[in-house]
Symmetry: C2
DNA sequence: TCGAAGACCCGAAGCGCTTCGACTGCCCTG
DNA sequence: CAGGGCAGTCGAAGCGCTTCGGGTCTTCGA
């Protein structure tokens, strides 16, 4: 491996000149710059990240703590991660992957100066990692919205707003009784904030509009779905719901069949609005009317926010991504 | 941040002594070792990874190139990644995440000495990244089995064997006509080796056993599944299949309903063997008889193999993980 | 015509660690 | 009792980079 010294010798300049050519932090004449760049190409030089990190106190690596387990929506997580990695590259940063349960991981990678900043996904309402993160004195961004961010930046989809938007859409179509099928009970119990907020938004919007509402948590399995649907359709003897808001990506592929087998046609008998990533909403035979979760945008925003805090000293911010509903084939007026 | 110098001063020893306490590469008296460890605790010292990388030529980071896109089986990928990260930690390594389409990524992270070794997932038969990897002169392990590993280590599940095992099981149950529902056409077209090998093993085993076989590629959507099933059941006028081998995790949640709506009960009318991760096989209302894909074991093996090559100079190896079938409720004798 | 202001480049001092060679006692052997 | 060997420690030389503080040489306005 060629070093900067080799490059300097090859180009007939000093070490520091090469460094300044690379960093652009001082003016260099066109001529020497070209000479240095030639030498770099010729020797196939690339800087040693360790040395650079040592001297500059910057590693060009972001830490990303992601939930690598089955009980979250895997494909959404994947989209986030992909967005984060891709965006990070545009800032010339790489991504170090930490798992949720690696408790000491945050502490370790920062105290060893392995990362310049941290991103944390799958935030719970009172996430125990937040105080840890807060005292690490590294730029950090939470992907999710806890009760108390403790001075950390946050970015997330406005799940409450998404539910409200979905409800508003259905109300405009004259639905007066709306069911909500949400995340699994487990997500609620650990207070994953997206689950809580989507429910809350739904309830509030229904109340505000004066329409009847029923909520069910549901796992992404056929029997769980069956049970939830039966409950919503019976609705304890009250009028059955005429429409559904579904915030559970894993369920969507199962939903069409499940309703069909109950003699319910979409949208003639029942309208459905999904809250899901766009590709999931579009994957169905009959694409879902949906409020799409822009995982990619959120991931990108998260990286932008750490980098802002790293480069300039932009203040901490809390950013909510505005929901947008696209009407497709699964909702109709009543 | 405390440095090693601070520790040395605090403990009243020299810099190098602290280093040797940490690395254990020279004998140190019990007494000074304790003193140093006390100082480390007291100052809350942890070594600067950049400095360490610079001096020791080791970064303690492994690069993992993973397919972060929708057209692979996301949950399997996730399991691999989780296994890799977790196992890496037991070797005191962290994991840097590279995306498949970051072409220069491999080159970059090695030439900048960011990683000690590389893992690459989702290998295609004649993967263009293999020659690149091969000339990087870093320990590397392919998770997958290409036509020509070019001197790189490989580890993968024995998908051909998995199909054979599934077929053997069905043949023992007196099935004489077996259908195969596999990965999407797209996977076949880019020659993802797991798809190819599973198909090949299936065909061979059927031929060897003298039973009729039909193969279909299939995407994980309801309509695609419907089409595939209709084709297998009609079977061009020949006898309909009495059993299925399904190598497509995304399809499993849809399969039960799809068969039921065609009046086919599992296993009375049709037996089904899944080739899928165990948790997927178990997630169904009626757990699938399955050859399980031990994503976790494979991920772990991959890390072990890089670390072996890194620490000792163990030779390159190609390791295939042996398939195991567990009979559950979806197969029965005919 | 002269000093100030740039433009451009170099040298050297670190950054925090690993590791090699050397030094000091001490114990053990012959 | 001399000498070798070993356990235990230290000093110093890097590892490859960034950055600060000068230099030198032009250029330009007064």
């Amino acid at each position: 491996m060629a070093t900067m010294n080799d490059v300097a010798r090859e180009a007939g300049v000093s070490l520091s000149t090469v460094s300044y050519v690379l960093s652009g932090k001082r003016t260099i004449s066109e001529e020497t710059r070209l000479a240095v760049q030639d030498a770099i190409r010729k020797l196939n030089y690339s800087p040693h990240s360790g040395a650079r990190a040592l001297a500059s106190n910057r590693s060009n690596v972001l830490g990303l703590m992601a939930p690598l387990r089955a009980d979250v929506n895997v494909s959404v997580v994947m989209q986030f991660v992909a967005a984060v990695v891709t965006t990070a590259r545009t800032y010339n940063q790489d991504v170090l992957l930490l798992t949720q349960d690696d408790a000491g991981g945050l502490e370790r990678v920062t105290s060893q100066s392995m990362v310049d900043g941290l991103l944390m996904m799958d935030i719970e309402a009172r996430d125990p990692r937040i105080p840890l993160l807060a005292k690490l004195r590294k730029p950090a961004v939470l992907i999710g919205l806890p009760d108390d961010p403790q001075g950390l930046s946050c970015v997330d989809f406005d799940f409450a707003g998404a539910s409200r938007t979905a409800v508003r859409h259905l109300v405009e179509l004259n639905h007066r009784s709306i069911g909500f099928i949400g995340s699994p009970q487990a997500s609620l119990e650990r207070h994953a904030t997206y689950a809580d907020r989507a429910r809350k938004g739904f309830s509030e919007a229904c109340e505000a509009a004066g329409v009847a509402s029923v909520l069910r948590a549901c796992e992404a399995t056929v029997p769980a779905l069956a049970e939830a649907l039966d409950a919503l359709i019976n609705n304890d003897g009250r009028t059955p719901v005429t429409s559904l808001v579904v915030h559970n990506e894993g369920l969507l592929p199962l939903l069409h069949e499940a309703l069909a087998s109950r003699g319910l046609r979409i949208p003639e008998d029942i309208s459905v609005v999904a809250i899901a990533p766009e590709d999931v909403a579009l994957a169905a035979a009959r694409p879902w009317t949906a409020v799409s979760i822009p995982a990619h945008d959120i991931g990108r925003a998260a990286v932008e926010m750490v980098m802002d805090r790293l480069n300039s000293d932009k203040p901490v911010e809390v950013r909510l991504i505005v929901p947008k509903l696209v009407q497709r084939e699964t909702t109709s007026a009543r």
